[in-house]
């Protein structure tokens, strides 16, 4: 007596079908309801993208000044380096030579960035 076992993926197919139909039914009902009863009433205020009651001012696309790259480099030097320095200091005595050299190169690279930012005047308070 052999009982045919349905393909295990059959359930998946059924579930996908249900997942597609389930949200479609209320959407179709809402669409039908609108067709039968509710006349659409779009308008300039309703179609506006801003929804806090204030009229939007200016452009949505704001450009940052490219001079901010100095802040970016200094952030990398002081913040990201500190994040790596802490575990480096903790594991210092157990590090193999290769890892020590790698972290040294990393610090040197960031130090170079610091020197460069310094020469550019990125560490001055005001100009």
């Amino acid at each position: 007596m052999s009982k045919t076992i349905p393909d295990p993926y059959l359930y998946l197919v059924v579930a996908v079908g249900v997942a597609v139909v389930f949200p479609l039914i209320p959407l179709a009902l809402a669409w039908l309801w609108r067709r039968c009863f509710q006349p659409p009433k779009p308008g300039p205020d309703k179609n506006a993208s801003y929804e806090c009651g204030i009229e939007s001012l200016g452009e949505a696309r704001v450009q940052f000044k490219s001079q901010y790259y100095l802040f970016c480099i200094i952030f990398l030097v002081f913040d990201v380096e500190a994040v790596f320095l802490l575990p480096f200091a903790v594991a210092f005595t157990r590090l193999p030579v290769g890892a020590f050299v790698a972290i040294l190169i990393f610090i040197l690279l960031l130090l170079e960035g610091l020197v460069w930012a310094w020469c550019k005047g990125g560490l001055d308070w005001t100009k």
Binding site: K41, D45, K46, E51
Partner: protein, 208 residues
């Protein structure tokens, strides 16, 4: 069918026998009145009472109105809770315009109704009904949460009696009823215009 084709007496008799007969209109209104989503929007001290009404002691959730929406796109009901200054009035009207139909307005407190104690002031709008149609007025300064609850229930009754079709159908279902009203401009001395004549119908005072 949509509206009541079935006799009311027959419906009542059937219900007594355990057979529920209903109309699409009834189900629609039942759903709408029990899930009124107010706009999360407070202007002055009335807003404190509104918050109290929404919190656990008075619990607006019992009537389905606890889902305060931070966006007008998702709200059905605007509770104008507090003093509407002339600076704020254009924003209130614009928020009303951005709400989808059907939408309702509760003017909560003396200020929202008429300007209240600040009516003589230079900077207070003398009633939000000058610019948007108000469904329910709740007097008080400020009204207690119970008063807001009663106003809310009154609005539910109003929704319950709105018709889907036929001669007396709800006005928001008419294609020519506007959904947006002109936003007043904040002028040098007053809002321009000072009232929307299509909306504002003050009672005529008969003097001898």
């Amino acid at each position: 069918m949509i509206t009541s084709l079935i006799d009311e007496e027959l419906k009542k008799d059937l219900r007594e026998q355990g057979v529920v007969v209903t109309t699409l209109q009834e189900v629609y209104n039942w759903g709408r009145r029990n899930s009124l989503w107010p706009l999360q929007f407070g202007l002055a001290c009335c807003a404190i009472e509104m918050i109290a009404a929404a919190a656990s002691r008075y619990d607006l959730a019992r009537f389905g109105g606890e889902v305060f929406r931070p966006s007008p796109r998702q709200a059905d009901l605007m509770i104008v809770a507090g003093t509407v200054t002339k600076k704020m009035a254009p924003q209130v009207v614009r928020l009303y315009n951005q709400m989808p139909d059907p939408k309702y307005v509760i003017a909560m407190g003396a200020c929202a109704i008429s300007g209240g104690p600040f009516k003589q002031g230079y900077n207070v709008l003398k009633g939000i009904d000058r610019y948007v149609p108000v469904d329910i007025y709740i007097p008080g300064c400020p009204p207690r949460p119970e008063a807001l609850l009663q106003g809310f229930i009154e609005l539910q009754h109003k929704i319950d009696h709105q018709k889907l079709s036929g001669p007396g159908k709800a006005s928001f279902l008419n294609a020519d009823t506007p959904s947006e009203y002109p936003v007043p401009a904040f002028g040098a001395h007053d809002l321009e215009p000072p009232a929307n004549p299509d909306v504002f119908h003050p009672p005529k005072i008969e003097r001898e």
